[in-house]
């Protein structure tokens, strides 16, 4: 118990001192996870929309793949990305293993099915006749999709929250493809694991508080947009 209290005190000390390493790790976490969420949205939003609005023969199969992807364990993603980016792997020539880019790739694979799957379910919750009504009012296909996204704003922002939450908090894939290298690929979650394994609970708690704070602030921002006028 004493360890925990000491840890919390030390954590606040580290936080308020603005330890340069802690700041660097925090910024890298935000950068990597923010980029992964953005890419996931850019890919997932159109794919989820396509699957929700267009009927084609293998549609159910692809929806099942996306739904399975939503439950992908990060360590499995880490393993697959490692195999591909390993020096002798198919993409080894790109020299991405143990770089922040490798972490972004792994996190995109985790968050992208979530963005696509939740977009699909968000749009399927709307009245299907709304699409016909919008086209009947003279909307172009793009105007129709944009209006549907606006109508499904609440669940779509929930999808964004879920996607960001899943990548900022994952550790397995980041550890495996990033290597937790000091000054290069150490992010908040991998740093917490390392500090804990060394018995440096104060640092681990400080980093955990920052991680929770980031998650809270990002979700607060998104929730305030989501709940506007509700």
């Amino acid at each position: 118990m004493q360890n925990l209290l000491d840890g919390i005190l030390k954590a606040f000390e580290l936080l308020f001192q603005g330890d340069p390493e802690v700041v660097r790790i925090t910024l890298l976490s935000l950068e990597v996870s923010g980029m992964a969420t953005l890419i996931s949205l850019i890919l997932g939003l159109p794919l989820g929309t396509f699957l929700a609005l267009v009927k084609f023969p293998t549609r159910r199969f692809w929806i099942s793949i996306i739904n399975t992807g939503m439950a992908l364990p990060p360590v499995v993603v880490g393993l697959v990305v490692c195999i591909f980016l390993w020096r002798n792997g198919p993409l080894g020539f790109m020299h991405l293993i143990y770089t922040p880019a490798a972490i972004v790739i792994a996190q995109v694979l985790i968050a992208f099915p979530m963005a696509a799957g939740l977009t699909l379910s968000a749009l399927q919750q709307l009245d299907p006749k709304l699409r016909i009504q919008l086209l009947g009012l003279g909307a172009s296909k793009i105007q129709m999709v944009l209006t549907l996204w606006k109508e499904a704003k609440l669940p779509l922002i929930a999808a964004l929250i879920a996607a960001f939450g899943s990548v900022i908090s994952e550790v397995g894939a980041s550890m495996m493809v990033g290597g937790n290298l000091l000054g290069s690929t150490r992010v908040l979650t991998t740093a917490i694991v390392l500090e804990t394994s060394k018995g440096l609970f104060a640092s681990a708690i400080a980093l955990s508080i920052i991680l929770l704070l980031i998650a809270f602030l990002v979700n607060l921002g998104l929730t305030s947009i989501q709940q506007r006028r509700h």
Partner: protein, 363 residues
Amino acid sequence: MTTLLELHNIIVQAGKITILNVPELAVNKGEVLVLLGPNGAGKSTLLQVAAGLIKPISGSVLFSTYKKLSDLNFRRKVSTVFQSPLLLNDTIEKNIASGLKFRGLHNEEINQRVQFWMEQLHILPIAKRHAKILSGGEAQRVSLARAFCLETELILMDEPFSALDNPTRQGLLDDLRNIFTRTNQTCIYVTHDLEEALSIGDRVAVLLNGKIHQLSQTQEVFSHPSTPEVAAFMGVDNIIPGSVFGLENNMLQIQADHAIFEAVGNIAIGTQVYICLRPEDITLFNDNQEIKPSSARNHVSCQITQIINQGPFMRVQLQSGFSLTALVTSRSVKEMELEVGKTVLAVFKASAIHLISSGKIRT
């Protein structure tokens, strides 16, 4: 009469089943054409084909004044109102403006048109209200304003008032009729309600099982249905098959089962016909009651099999070798002491009978 929209050889299939087969349909400028039919007849499908929202497997939909239009430009020549208002999660004003914004109009013009149509449909005082808290009638007024403010040459309405209670529906129908009269707006109006079709339509197309069975002036469809199926849908409860056996001075004699009917018309002797008689055109008399001389030439002795209460009226089912249905006031039923099993005389005029020729001649 100038044609505004023409549909040629339209066929729509669901899987391998043909759900719509319309060889020709023309909508005239300034008219309200009602597509009338029961549920599942293909009315809404036909409307969506006319709106460019469903692509038929064959056939074409053309505006007479425009040679070739892209899909988007075609859709922007029409506006649609559906049974469900399908309003966006926004204020009334913004909902009404949505179609105009899709067309990229200037804000000034959008505001002007939105204000005008909100006033026309009596929703100006609630302009800032959120669409999700409106009553059914208010929401449908918003939906109408949203369509009218586009000022398209053609408006398509798919059972817009069928989900509303009767007083609200009547209020909206009155307003809609006034707008149509004032603006000379062309409209295709889908309904399954005969009363609505009568009150709003200039012409009526009766759609049954994906095919147009009759297309005529509204009153003509009601008074002279062209097939037994149309007659049945039009509320003609009595459709009795018979055969013409006499013709004198435009007065036909028709044999149906054991009874002989007299009807006005000129059909060749031997022709198989359907005798169509509205239940409200039948007067019942007690068997022993003295009947004053009148122009009613047809007298059929029947037995009452069922009496169904319909509020101010009673539907009296009769049997005389064939079935007959008469509509009698509740007061008359009481005064005449009508009851199941009683024998009565069904009396009706020769002019009340509408004959549909089956086209077959009895040899």
